[in-house]
Symmetry: C2
Subunit: 429 residues, 2 copies
């Protein structure tokens, strides 16, 4: 293809994703050139430390530890940022955008915290800022949300967007492991980091939820705005009881529009077994989208990993290059401020377990507390006999605030020994 347009790419960061991207371009560059007329050439690669052994090949002299020089290099057409983290990624992307270079990034942390600033810089310069890889890795999600569904009105998006926690929950479900055992296995397999906090406490998913809210509903949501509850308190008993009741337990990121406000949260949830999200196993991700016209959609695939993520980066890079050649810009999100409804005002059905002392009148006392707070019990089961018994119930939809007060009062009952972690039920009404 001698008539292909050469696009000179500057790469910032070259860890897993960067190395996989270089390999993908080496493998598929000819096919891409034949199909699109675009020849991608990675001419500069900025890394943290020079002189290390590297599992990939770059053009002679391309490696540098001066990332600023890469974004300022006037011969570079497009910048790809896969270094991660807030700084210096933010400053480098802003410099690239100010220099009118389109940017492709996989940086969810940065987008979830400084998204509006970056989108504005891109709009000011009239260049692309694409970020398909920042949410759900290799799964095409951002482009379908922004383009394919542009004419629809979305109601709610529920996603399994953290592979580590889905792997842990799958092991707990299928092998009866405890949280700690499953976490240890995830760490041994490299799915979980040594400090697993960001994954297991839902913080990683919260950052992705913020980006989904921005793209799907056009509102400004930052990671810190997202209520996040993790899975470390989930027990194998919770999981087996959920299965008996017809549910799987999944860590969900949920974003929905309610009366002009936006609700966005991350927490474990009981998902009906017949729901497509319940069948998402191992470290896979899936995002379930409810649109007014399109109905229910789901996007499923690998949410992490070098090659899946690099595939998404490369799709964006080809798009940015094609736009550059045609003097076009993809529509950017222009998120506006909206009230983020606090978790206290949201409504869910709840699954609650109580360890109680088996005395006459226990159920009456429990029912008295729930009734006092306007919480209505949908179904109930009493397990075990003798001294210690367990009450398990699922409520009708109730406000979080009322549920919290109910649980506080239940803890104060003398007949109640212990209140388990309550779980929200999805699709119960």
């Amino acid at each position: 293809m001698t008539d292909a347009t050469t696009i000179r790419v500057g790469l910032l960061g070259c860890g897993n994703v960067g190395a996989a991207l270089l390999q993908l371009i080496a493998e598929n560059g000819d096919a891409v050139a034949a199909r699109t007329g675009l020849r991608l050439e990675v001419v500069r690669v900025a890394v943290h430390t020079l002189g290390k052994a590297r599992p990939y090949e770059v053009a002679p002299g391309a490696l540098t530890d001066d990332a600023e020089a890469v974004v300022r290099d006037p011969s570079i057409d497009v910048v790809v940022e896969v270094m991660g983290g807030r700084e210096p990624a933010r400053a480098l992307i802003l410099a690239a955008l100010d220099a009118k270079k389109p940017v492709v990034t996989a940086n969810k942390e940065l987008l979830a915290n400084a998204g509006p600033e970056l989108f504005e810089a891109a709009a000011r310069s009239g260049v692309d800022l694409l970020f398909e890889a920042a949410v759900a890795g290799g799964i095409p999600l951002i482009r379908p949300l922004r383009e394919s569904l542009a004419g629809d009105r979305l109601r709610r998006i529920m996603g399994i967007v953290n592979g580590t926690t889905n792997f842990i929950l799958t092991r707990m479900t299928e092998k009866g492991q405890s949280f700690q055992e499953a976490l240890a296995e995830a760490q041994a397999l490299g799915y979980a980091e040594r400090d697993p906090t960001a994954d297991v406490e839902g913080l990683d998913a919260a950052a992705k939820a913020a980006i989904i809210a921005t793209v799907a509903f056009g509102v400004q949501v930052a990671a810190g705005d997202v209520y996040a509850e993790g899975i470390s308190a989930i027990t194998p008993e919770d999981i087996s009881m959920a299965q008996r009741l017809g549910y799987a337990i999944k860590l969900l990121a949920i974003v929905e529009a309610i009366d002009g406000e936006i609700a966005v949260r991350v927490h474990p949830a009981m998902v009906p077994l017949a729901h497509p999200l319940a069948a998402v196993r191992e470290s896979f991700n899936a995002v379930f989208v409810e649109g007014e016209a399109v109905g229910d959609l789901m996007f499923y695939g690998r949410g992490a990993g070098g090659r899946p993520t690099a595939s998404a980066v490369l799709g964006d890079l080809i798009d940015a290059a094609a736009n550059l050649r045609q003097g076009r810009v993809a529509g950017l999100p222009r998120p506006v401020a909206a009230r983020i409804r606090p978790i206290d005002e949201l409504r869910s059905a709840f699954y609650v377990t109580l360890d109680v002392f088996d005395r006459p009148g226990v159920l009456e006392q429990v029912a008295g507390v729930t009734a006092r707070h306007g919480v209505s019990i949908w179904k109930m089961e009493q397990l075990g006999l003798g001294e210690e018994a367990r009450l398990v119930f699922v409520t009708h939809t109730a406000e979080e605030r009322a549920m919290r007060a109910t649980l506080d009062d239940l803890r104060d009952l003398e007949v109640v020994d212990r209140v388990g972690t309550p779980l929200r039920v999805v699709g119960a009404d």
Copy 2:
């Protein structure tokens, strides 16, 4: 939005999808204008018969029975074709493209038979021809395949792309209904047509498979090139035996690249229960994509219905309008000729049932036949006792040609009373 660009749309056909599109534009047109700066105005609507009562509103004087006048109207910017069928849709789309009007179509039959001619006309005029709605209705599939995965190398695509047959198979699986009973229910619910041949014999799926092959692998495949086998011979016994062996039976459209050739076929298949396609119930569609870098992906949703399909059409329409404003064209498929590998040369594992007379040496005779054709039995079970017994076996991967010869010879054995419909097993090796 006084500064929105008005895009004048001509609509060809106004059945379910067309009416839903008009309604969607009425509902969401303001939001689309606010977000994209594009005001969509449907100014002409060509219908077959004037003067009928219609469940939608159009601008006064917009209705016409002269479709040619619509595509020739110089004031119309974009043409949407949702009339279906080969002619006059083909001639109208060609006329619109020749007049340099972008076209959005949902017409799978036409694309699967005259795709290359249409793509060439669009390329000649330098305008868009978009068709997201032609495969899998509301599910974003064509755009992700063409754009998000543009840098990856796809291996295989397997889709449940016909809702009617998936509904029938779901009923047979979950309620033990016969094919005829489930078909009657599908007809009563409006999921199946009075003449269900195109759905149940796999012809509808074959047309979609041809389009998927064109988009995903860039090769010219027409509906008639696709080997198609339907579900009318599937029995409830097949389904319960499949479940015992750990499989669900699904009608799959399968497209794969093999050594530079393309294989494309539609047939019922046994899918492992843990595979995401096995959990796709009722009339939902899902397309499973295997890419070298991205790994496994699945796209799930409503494959038919007025509003889901209209949602996909509207996404394309907004894209075409945005491109028109920016003087840009989406990359068109430029399918090239490739050898389509005949079904005889493909390899699968097979599930086979034999009704046999229970005499000594039956198994020996059966094993002799399979061995003679180089077909190796992976697992086998003998059911029933006494006069009539049933042998059920699953083979290792074998060539279709060898399997066919094996079945012919098995039918000729005196100890064999009947050979059931063989089923291909997906993901067995």
